[in-house]
């Protein structure tokens, strides 16, 4: 019915209106003295119970509903759900911070994470939808035949998705502990509950409709604070349009501040500190003993003269906190040295592309930028939890249209993130630099207390120099409401948005892992005769097990797992992209070729990450295998080599193996719509 709204659209309009009313009511209550803590709780309870209501309303006992939402999701809503599915806690909280810290270089994420959807639209989505089964391993197995490739695909899907889902649950723990002051571990299990209410009863169907709801919250929460900040700074509430002017201002400030004598002095002091640490590391273990002796003699001296007890205790604590052995000393001093080296470097201009002293340095940055864009695009087009969303539309045409909507909804966030970064940088350069430390705005102290902002007055002049300030990337989005002087309710809104981003992505990932195990391994390989009812029981139990497992891992606060997320793109890209694309566009690709290509791609990616990133794996008894990166490419872009090797392997092996005539029949069904050719 043109002109009038569908039932779904009415529901979500009502829901959005309800949410805005809820926020307005809280703002009013805050005005009347409601404490911030209660505002945090209200957001947490309100949003999670909303998701629970949607989750319960969408409960299902139908296999097709559980895996692909009954293929009844209209393009527009599938786009929104994909947006929420795609944008994780890292996009919501981390991206703006990365852009703040690395300026133009950070835009590789913006380009890569959006450009990937062009590949999805042109190369994958319509064909996956026309094939119309349940999972990505399903597709590969139908195209190439056999269960071996299904198992390899399941393994790669789980490898890429599990670290990712752990990072999301970790993100939930961080958000809840910061905004409603729950203990981190409790926050993780609140997150687990939030994820399960969306997916346990209703599978993909429930996940889809909660993701739409979560998208609406996360986009409102992301855009509101920066719009208000933009209004404050420029008088125009559309930050995406006006931040060019602010960027110009930032460049002027940079030119003035970067070379001021005080900045140069501070950087020199940091350089000296780095040299000192380097010397101490070189002279291990003597330097450690020397330091301990020095402290001991100082303590004895103080004890001899009747000095204040306080000073003696302080020195004794210092001695206690010295590294226990040379190993520990090396690790600790290296970290300190690298951080000092970082701060001694001249800062980069925000808008400058590939900044470097020499042409060679610039070329390294350029190569890494392009390599990262490549890995992120290909990874985006190969992450199973995103691709599987295009199984859920009613028709092929709607699948194509829904990629358009997906990108549009994702774009809204990604064109806002650079504006966040520029406004934050303006705030820092204009209102923090060269200000006496005692007179800094109050948000600095508030976030210093949680350890996200650190200030060290190394030259002791009582004035903040840029190099003396270090910001954790997360603080940019989290602190913007305070920077703009907004009431706490806006901070609560941001927390709710971050929560929505983390929960929606976790749901999609969890479902991918579950369906890989229950559908591909159990139903397709172990027991093809299982009844539908029993398959659902298996799916739901596995969902529970995987979710609890992921939450348990997240509760350990694994530091390395967060950096592993970046590798998930490379691994997924090199596992799936070549096999999927050649499978659709090259009839001659064979089973042996695809299998070899997937295995070679993934192994090469992992090999490169291991050898560039680590020097030893103690529990395998390997050590000293660190190598120089190829073409200076960082380990996060290992997929560059994995994907190229994957393509080459598939082509070579396919050409030397006999090709299966059945692939022609399969390709006819997925390339050409039913009906074409019969006329």
């Amino acid at each position: 019915m043109p002109g009038s709204l569908t039932r779904l659209q009415r529901y979500y309009l009502l829901y959005t209106g309800g949410f805005i009313l809820f926020v307005a009511a809280l703002a009013l209550l805050e005005d009347h003295g409601m404490p911030p803590r209660w505002i945090g709780y209200s957001f947490l309870i309100f949003t999670i119970s909303m998701y629970a209501v949607i989750g319960i309303m969408s409960r299902t006992s139908d296999v097709s509903e559980f895996y692909v939402a009954g293929r009844r999701v209209p393009a527009f809503f599938n786009g929104m759900a994909t947006g929420a599915d795609w944008m994780s806690a890292a996009s919501f909280i981390g991206l703006a911070g990365t852009l703040y810290l690395s300026g133009y270089q950070g835009l590789a994420f913006v380009l890569g994470w959006t450009g990937g959807f062009v590949l999805v639209a042109l190369l994958l989505a319509p064909y996956l939808r026309r094939f119309g089964e349940y999972t990505i391993p399903d597709f590969l197995s139908a195209r190439y035949g056999g269960n071996a490739i299904r198992l390899v695909a399941v393994g790669a899907a789980i490898l890429a998705s599990f670290v990712y889902v752990v990072a999301q649950i970790y993100g939930v723990g961080v958000i809840t502990s910061r905004f409603v002051s729950l203990q981190f571990e409790i926050g993780v299990f609140v997150g687990l509950a939030g994820i399960l209410v969306c997916s346990f009863l209703g599978g993909m169907r429930a996940v889809t409709w909660t993701q739409v709801a979560q998208y609406l919250i996360l986009i409102v929460a992301y855009i509101t604070p920066v719009a208000i900040l933009s209004w404050n700074v420029t008088g125009n509430p559309v930050p995406q349009l006006v931040y060019g002017k602010v960027l110009q201002e930032v460049t002027h400030l940079e030119e003035r501040l970067f070379h001021s004598p005080a900045e140069l002095e501070v950087r020199q002091l940091f350089r000296e500190r780095a040299d000192l640490y380097a010397q101490k590391i070189m002279q291990l273990p003597d330097s450690l003993n020397h330091e301990r002796d020095q402290l001991s003699s100082q303590i004895n001296q103080l004890k001899a003269t009747d000095a204040q007890m306080k000073d003696i205790v302080a020195l004794e604590r210092q001695r206690r906190e010295l590294p226990h052995d040379p190993e520990q000393a090396r690790a600790r001093w290296e970290t300190a040295m690298f951080s000092a080296v970082d701060r001694s470097k001249p800062p980069i201009h925000h808008a400058e592309a590939f900044p470097g002293e020499t042409e060679a340095e610039r070329d390294i940055l350029r190569i890494n930028f392009l390599a990262l864009v490549f890995c992120l695009t290909v990874g985006t087009a190969a992450l199973p939890h995103v691709l599987v969303r295009y199984y859920t539309t009613p028709t092929v045409r709607q699948a194509r249209e829904s990629v358009f909507w997906s990108l549009l909804f994702i774009l809204l966030l990604y064109i806002t993130a650079p504006a966040y970064a520029v406004f934050a940088k303006y705030e820092v350069l204009a209102h923090l630099a060269e200000i006496p430390i005692t007179k800094l705005p109050s948000w600095v102290a508030a976030w210093a207390k949680v350890g996200l902002v650190a200030i060290e007055d190394i030259n002791g002049d009582g004035i903040l120099q840029l190099a003396e300030l270090s910001l954790n990337p997360d603080v940019i989005v989290l602190a913007t409401p305070e920077i703009a002087g907004m009431p706490y309710v806006v901070s609560g809104l941001v927390a709710a948005g971050g929560l929505a981003a983390a929960l929606s992505t976790a749901d999609g990932l969890l479902l991918t892992i579950t369906s890989a195990l229950s559908h591909d391994v159990y139903y397709r390989i172990v027991r093809p005769g299982a009844s539908t009812q029993f398959r659902l029981v298996i799916s739901k139990s596995l969902l529970l097990v995987v979710a609890v497992l992921a939450a348990t891992v997240a509760a350990q606060k694994p530091g390395t797992i967060l950096s592993m997320v970046a590798w998930a793109f490379s691994i997924a890209g090199s596992a799936f992209f070549p096999a999927l694309v050649l499978g659709i566009f090259w009839e001659r690709a064979t089973r042996a070729g695809a299998l070899a290509g997937m295995v070679v791609g993934v192994l090469l990616s992992i090999y490169y990450i291991l050898r560039v990133e680590f020097d030893s794996i103690p529990w395998l008894g390997l050590s000293g295998f660190r190598m120089e990166p190829w073409f200076h490419v960082q380990s996060t872009s290992s997929g560059l080599f994995g994907v190229i090797a994957g393509f080459m392997t598939i082509v070579v092996v396919s050409l030397i193996t006999r090709h299966d005539p059945r692939s022609a029949t399969f390709l006819r069904t997925i390339r050409v719509q039913s009906g074409a050719g019969q006329r």
């Binding site: 380009l111 042109l122 960027l247 045409r397 194509r400």
Partner: protein
Amino acid sequence: MTSSDAYWRRARRLTFLLLIFWLLVTFGLTWFARDVNEIVILGFPLGFYIAAQGALVIYLAIIWWYNRCMKKLDAEFGVEEG
């Protein structure tokens, strides 16, 4: 040549043309970001602007154009969704 072959050929040609255009925008323009940055529009250095907004809008336009052509192609070959 059957008409289903013709349909696939044309879909494939469209895909490859758009893919090449996408490659040029994503990697070609970005390679020269330093030089392009000399130009300033709306206060943005152009290279920065392309990576932060311009390319994204072009991506959207590529998908829109692809959908439009495919819809026409479907109609021309009498393909109705089953």
